[in-house]
Symmetry: C2
DNA sequence: TTGTATGCGTTATCAT
DNA sequence: ATGATAACGCATACAA
């Protein structure tokens, strides 16, 4: 930098000012500096800037797995939102592993970013204390409520109820769930099953436990497995509410395999509205969770905490959802 | 760090040694240091380490779009491969935009990582000179050959020929291509169409230009569009070779929409073997490009360059491929 | 095996 | 609007 300063006949401070976008620099000076930068092919040392300024203009995004489309699309939305605010996103895969989720919160890399957007799958309500870190964190998902940090989520109960009501509106009465987690009291599965139960109750349909298909991880293969188990059980089924799209696409796969007409015999709705849902055969209805809104809100909250402009109580924001009807529940 | 040193009654040097994994530290000393770290809740400042050591232990991964499953899965594989070598991956989305691809190579963030794995889509053969950067870069894909840097790719011509031969082996003769780029001389599309042409020639089938379906970006929607155009053109078709899976899934979508039996009337094979291909209806055959091998090789080459152990000529590695047969081409 | 002193390249403070 | 200088927190050369 001092070379540049010398060539441009200014001080290093001025070079720094120009490169940092400090506004009070004479245009001619700025031009001279930029010209010198160009001629020397000079590149700012980001590490030095980070050390001196104490900020990196990077934020972390911790999520379970990038190859799950929902998280890939979420990452895309977060990256775009961050970019608009001049921030870079450092993605950390946790694989839903407790150790790795803890490391994300407390490891040294934590201080390579100015803040963290964290979508945990292993840590939960009982780990409240572990979320108390001295750096800005925004929580995503449904693993903890009323925690010590900002939280962006959606109304899972309402959304699941709306999805179920959509199926009931088609005249379906034997609605199976795929992705239930038996005995779970908190978390996404529990909330969505609760919404399902509420919709049934409101319609005066009795909840048949035989219709609750378990699936631990929410992937295509576990969804397929659960669908097979349900079909093999002999329980009468005229609709499926898959608690996420991966499960739903796994279910569709099995229904196609067994030549069961969708939606003629069984209607299917998923949750997340990933790109893939629009292109399955048949295209799958889904609950769209307002992914872009979630990403924007999370980045906004994080920026506010980083800037220190919001030092107050943790806030919780609920994003909007929407039922997207496609052929898998048409008619 | 000096606080830790004081509490542990050692010098900062020793603390640094412990935290950097320097092996020649007495066990009791190490324990004392780690205890002090714990008690003071001390966290190493990564920025300072980066500045001082001149390395960040991060590598960049520049790709067009994370929401395209192939790239999400590639990112996953690269992250895993890097992790095994103690490296963190910083993902940069270029959106196939020329400016952004240049920025990835020449921008300041370039020096936040020790090296770059770069999958360009805008930059190409004519930009040879721009790839000459003073930091280690490994190139992915088919936008440039014989360039000044290490390159990991696959034999696209062979693979496309094998895919086409698979269709010919089913007795298909009117094989459409989806994703052609008219007039393109270099790049993935051109290579795969070349393999297709070779397979036809070898089987004595004349190449009918009416069977070449154009699709600019390789997405589901453009694949669907191309499939519709081909069907509407009235050309006889008994098979489709989609130049990637997104195009193939878009085509499947249209075939389902029009109640055309797959593979009865039209067989379909894709390219990339993304997770989604196993779960489409029907499951789609595809060319599996050895994604894990590509990721591992790319990280290996990059590490070698970073370590300086390979200062020689740029190398090009071709990964293996495999035809994965599923229901969309069964029988 | 461990301690001391120096400097990495930038930004912040203060001054002009 | 710009300049001089200190300091950010660590790793490394060298010494012990």
């Amino acid at each position: 930098m001092s070379d540049v300063a010398q060539l441009a006949d200014v001080s290093v401070k001025t070079v720094s000012n120009v490169l940092s976008g400090y506004p009070h620099v004479r245009d001619t000076t700025r031009a001279r500096v930029l010209d010198a930068v160009e001629r020397l092919d000079y590149r700012l040392n980001v590490s030095a800037r980070n050390l001196r300024s104490g900020r990196t203009r990077m934020i972390g995004l911790a999520l379970p797995e990038l190859r799950l489309p929902y998280f890939a699309e979420l990452a895309d939305s977060v990256i775009l939102a961050a970019e608009r605010r001049g921030l870079t996103v450092l993605i950390e895969q946790t694989n839903a592993d407790r150790e790795r989720e803890l490391d994300v919160l407390h490891g040294p890399r934590r201080h390579l970013t100015d803040g963290l957007i964290f979508s945990p799958l292993a840590l939960g309500q009982q780990d409240r204390e572990l979320f108390k870190v001295d750096v800005p964190v925004v929580l995503l998902g449904e693993r903890m409520f009323g925690g010590p940090i900002d939280h962006v989520t959606m109304d899972n109960v309402d959304a699941a109820q709306a999805a179920t009501e959509h199926l009931i509106g088609l005249g379906r009465r034997r609605i199976a769930v795929i992705g239930a987690h038996e005995g779970e009291q908190v978390g996404t599965a529990a909330l969505r099953v609760q919404g399902y139960a509420q919709a049934l109750a409101a319609a005066g349909i009795e909840l048949d436990p035989a219709l609750l298909g378990e699936a631990g991880p929410w992937h295509r293969d576990t969804g397929a497995q659960a669908m097979r188990a349900l079909l093999d059980s002999g329980t009468e089924i005229d609709a499926v509410f898959a608690l996420n799209d991966m499960l739903g696409l796994g279910a569709l796969h099995v229904l196609h395999e067994r030549r069961i007409d969708v939606p003629g015999q069984i209607a299917v709705i998923g949750f997340d509205d990933v790109d893939e849902a629009s292109y399955s055969s048949p295209p799958m209805s889904s609950v769209s969770p307002g992914r872009v809104q979630i990403a924007e809100t999370a980045v906004d909250l994080l920026c506010a905490r980083i800037a220190g402009s919001s030092a107050g109580e943790p806030v919780t924001v609920r994003a909007d959802f929407e039922i997207v009807v496609r052929a898998s529940t048409a008619g």
